[in-house]
């Protein structure tokens, strides 16, 4: 691969990615995606920048930037409400590399859940679900619990039966059935893989909320009622301040998850739980204020706010909703006991 980022600083990575997304995410491309079609030129553009390889070490095609910096590209993806499975493509290669499995070329996706049985020859069969854009993937990565421990597999289209589905945003999220697919032992648990997926969604939510805050503030400055910009009304100002707070809090929590993914230790699960809960709550509260401020125009498919509301909802749903991660975090904190609560919180 060429080297688009000779000086792989985080800012430069983010700026280049943002520019590419601005150029490539045309209305035509969005219309194509809305029908479930893969806009090849767009994906090729992201591939040429090396974005699906962003979480790999430099010698494996990564940028050589710290993992937390590379993960911040997902904030940029969120800022642009990217419907394509960039996060999943990154995650697939990240998990395969961690397991020492060679990744096939092309678009990779990851299933969010699975039920897998191992046959007498060590091959996996079963079902998996929630694979973004799975129908277009060269392989779908599945991490599954088995009697012999967690395994990872990359199911090729030849061994798959894909049942097309969609998430709440209408973006492809497919289920699959497969038989006799070779597996490799995974050096991480199914929960850790799920946490990595949840972290990608938290980061994209943080990015989307940043854009939503910007566009909502701008709208309040432009939209006039009663002879002045609605942003001059204190009631509206107070709401926008709350939106900015939700956005900043989500960003802080997502940043925590990115650092925990980089460190990949016992702190991973609690940190991702904080991020997925906080970002999920912020997505709900933030989108509500954005819509309240935008009024009827924001409730149309014509206005771009809908792209963000839809993906905020989809990313909130993906890899476990707030209740799932809050239960996990709450169980961890309660188990720490009254004297252990504070040390448990400061360890996150």
């Amino acid at each position: 691969m060429s080297e688009p980022f000779p000086d792989a600083s985080g800012d430069m990575l983010r700026e280049t990615t943002a520019r590419a997304l601005r150029d490539l995410l045309t209305d035509a491309a969005r219309a194509e995606m809305a029908g479930g079609a893969m806009p090849q030129a767009l994906w090729r553009g992201l591939e040429e920048l090396g974005l699906p390889y962003a979480l790999l070490p430099e010698e494996a095609g990564g940028f050589g930037a710290p993992l937390a910096q590379a993960l911040s590209l997902l904030i940029v993806a969120g800022e642009h409400a990217l419907p394509l499975p960039l996060a999943d493509a990154m995650l697939a290669r990240f998990l395969l590399a961690k397991a020492g499995v060679e990744a096939p070329p092309g678009l990779l996706s990851v299933a969010q859940g699975s039920e897998v049985a191992i046959d007498g020859r060590g091959r996996a069969g079963g079902r998996a679900w929630g694979a973004p854009w799975g129908r277009h993937a060269a392989a779908i990565v599945v991490v599954a619990e088995t009697a012999g421990g967690p395994v990872i597999l990359a199911a090729p289209p030849s061994g798959l039966k894909v049942e097309p589905g969609a998430d709440i945003a209408g973006d492809p999220s497919d289920d699959l059935r497969f038989e006799a697919v070779a597996t490799s032992p995974a050096p991480f648990s199914v929960l850790e893989a799920r946490a990595a997926g949840a972290a990608t969604r938290a980061l994209m939510i943080a990015g989307a909320l940043r854009s939503v805050t910007d566009m909502t503030t701008q709208y309040a400055e432009e939209r006039k009622q009663f002879g002045r910009a609605i942003g001059k009304f204190q009631a509206v100002q107070q709401n926008l301040a709350a939106l900015a707070g939700q956005s900043a809090s989500a960003a802080a929590a997502a940043d925590l998850a990115a650092q925990a993914l980089d460190a990949w230790g016992p702190g991973l699960i609690p940190a991702v739980a904080v991020a997925k809960v906080r970002c999920g709550e912020a997505a709900g509260a933030g989108a509500a204020i954005a819509h309240q401020t935008h009024g009827a125009i924001g409730f149309t498919r014509e206005h771009r706010l809908h792209r963000y509301t839809l993906r905020l909802s989809a990313w909130r749903d993906a890899y476990g909703r707030e209740a799932e991660w809050a239960r996990r975090l709450g169980a961890h904190l309660i188990a720490a006991g009254p004297e252990g609560l504070w040390p448990a919180l400061t360890a996150i």
Binding site: R210, T213, D214, T217, Q218, A220, E221, G231, K232, Q234, V236, Q237, Q238, L240, A241, A242, A244, G245, S247, A248, S249, A250, A251, A252, A253, D255, L256, Q259, A273, V274, A275, V277, R278, E281, E322, A323, W325, A326, R327, R328, L329, G330, A331, L333, I334, A335, A336, G337, P338, L341, W342, L345, T346, I348
Partner: protein, 383 residues
């Protein structure tokens, strides 16, 4: 780009070393402190405890050594504060002096003022209160009516300050009052700050019972009180600028999201034998908010350390912090099951009552929610 950015808190290994020392100290010092006393958080006053912190060099940690400080980082101070608050230590005596009066003196005080006062604050022997609010001056601070008039002998002060937390325990007040004429065109002009010795004749302190029945705050009346000429703090007419400069110190610290923390501890004490899923989810949601806030607050400490002025970020921490502080008693009340009382359930009920009755103040003191959100809206460019 209108979004606020909270940079990742910088790594600070020396802070973690300090944390270990502070935890060991507090385990010993607070072994017998009852939950209901811990629940007072930074309202709990114990001058002996303040002096012990001073003896360890844990007050004015960031200040220059010549004024009694240790010249350590804002991140270390942050860790010290959050450990004290999480443990429910009685820090109320020195809290305001150490948090904002000392830093104001450092910034605006004369060399004589600094040398006279700062080492005593750092020793835990000198407490301060904030003389800002008045009967007709709450959020609108520029409307203060207490007035200081320059005379041959010094400054003659008349008026009254209200809602002055801790005045009854304090040695000094930093007083904001009018020294120039009221100018409707320039409302923030003509205000000055003074370093006021509260033992001076003409200064009277009267306690006011709060919702919970405790005299935490006071009315402080100035009746022809004569301050020496050198009591002026900073520049004459510079009061507004100086006051707003304190706000990042006042608003971003861990006391802005840990006021209800003892209640969460006691909640977990009663839940921990057999938590059900509902309790786990509720505690998890609170935990997520606290961790995110803690990260934002540490980020502000990092910005302060780097010499930035994170007043907007501080307003945001305080706004979000008060929400979770007020949510904790709501959640705790909802999870409390009726049943035969036990020692733990009695402690829990007492702490719940205390925290519930103080919760309304969390979004009033130090800047109301509406004022904070107005500041944030200004940061967004809306005002």
């Amino acid at each position: 780009m209108t979004s606020f950015v909270f940079p990742s808190p910088p790594p600070s290994p020396e802070s973690e070393a300090l944390r270990t020392q502070v935890r060991a100290f507090l385990r010993q010092e607070l072994a017998d402190r009852a939950p209901i006393d811990r629940a007072q958080s930074w309202n709990g006053v114990d001058p002996a405890f303040s002096r012990k912190l001073g003896q360890r060099g844990w007050l004015g940690l960031t200040w220059p050594k010549r004024y009694g400080g240790q010249e350590r980082s804002a991140l270390e101070r942050y860790v010290l504060l959050e450990e004290l608050l999480a443990a429910g230590a009685p820090v109320g005596g020195h809290w305001i002096a150490e948090r904002q009066s000392g830093p104001s003196l450092l910034r605006y005080g004369s060399e004589e003022q600094k040398l006279a006062i700062l080492p005593r604050i750092a020793a835990g022997e000198c407490f301060f209160c904030i003389g800002m609010s008045e009967a007709d001056t709450g959020s609108d601070l520029a409307s203060v009516r207490t007035r200081a008039v320059r005379t041959d002998e010094g400054w003659r002060v008349n008026g009254a300050k209200l809602w002055t937390t801790g005045a009854q325990h304090s040695h000094y007040m930093i007083l904001l009052c009018r020294t120039g004429p009221v100018d409707p065109e320039r409302r923030h002009a003509g205000l000055s700050q003074f370093l006021v010795d509260l033992t001076l004749p003409g200064v009277a302190i009267r306690g006011i019972a709060n919702l919970a029945g405790e005299p935490h705050f006071n009315e402080v009346v100035f009746d022809e009180a004569l301050l020496p000429a050198e009591a002026l703090l900073g520049g004459e007419g510079e009061g507004w600028k100086q006051v707003t400069g304190e706000l990042a110190y006042e608003r971003s610290g861990p006391e802005r999201f840990l006021s209800s923390f003892t209640l969460l501890v006691e909640l977990i004490r009663v839940l921990s034998p057999a938590p059900d899923e509902r309790a786990q989810i509720a505690v998890g949601r609170l935990g997520a908010q606290l961790v995110a806030l803690r990260r934002m607050s540490r980020s502000v400490a990092g910005l302060l350390q780097a010499g930035a002025d994170p007043a907007l970020e501080a307003a945001m921490v305080k706004d979000l912090g008060a929400l979770v502080e007020q949510e904790i008693p709501e959640v705790a009340r909802d999870l409390l099951a009726d049943g035969p009382p036990t020692a733990a359930s009695r402690d829990f009920a007492a702490v719940l009552a205390y925290t519930s009755l103080h919760a309304p103040s969390f979004s009033l003191r130090g800047g109301t929610r509406e004022i904070l959100r107005g500041i944030i809206a200004r940061g967004l460019g809306l005002r």
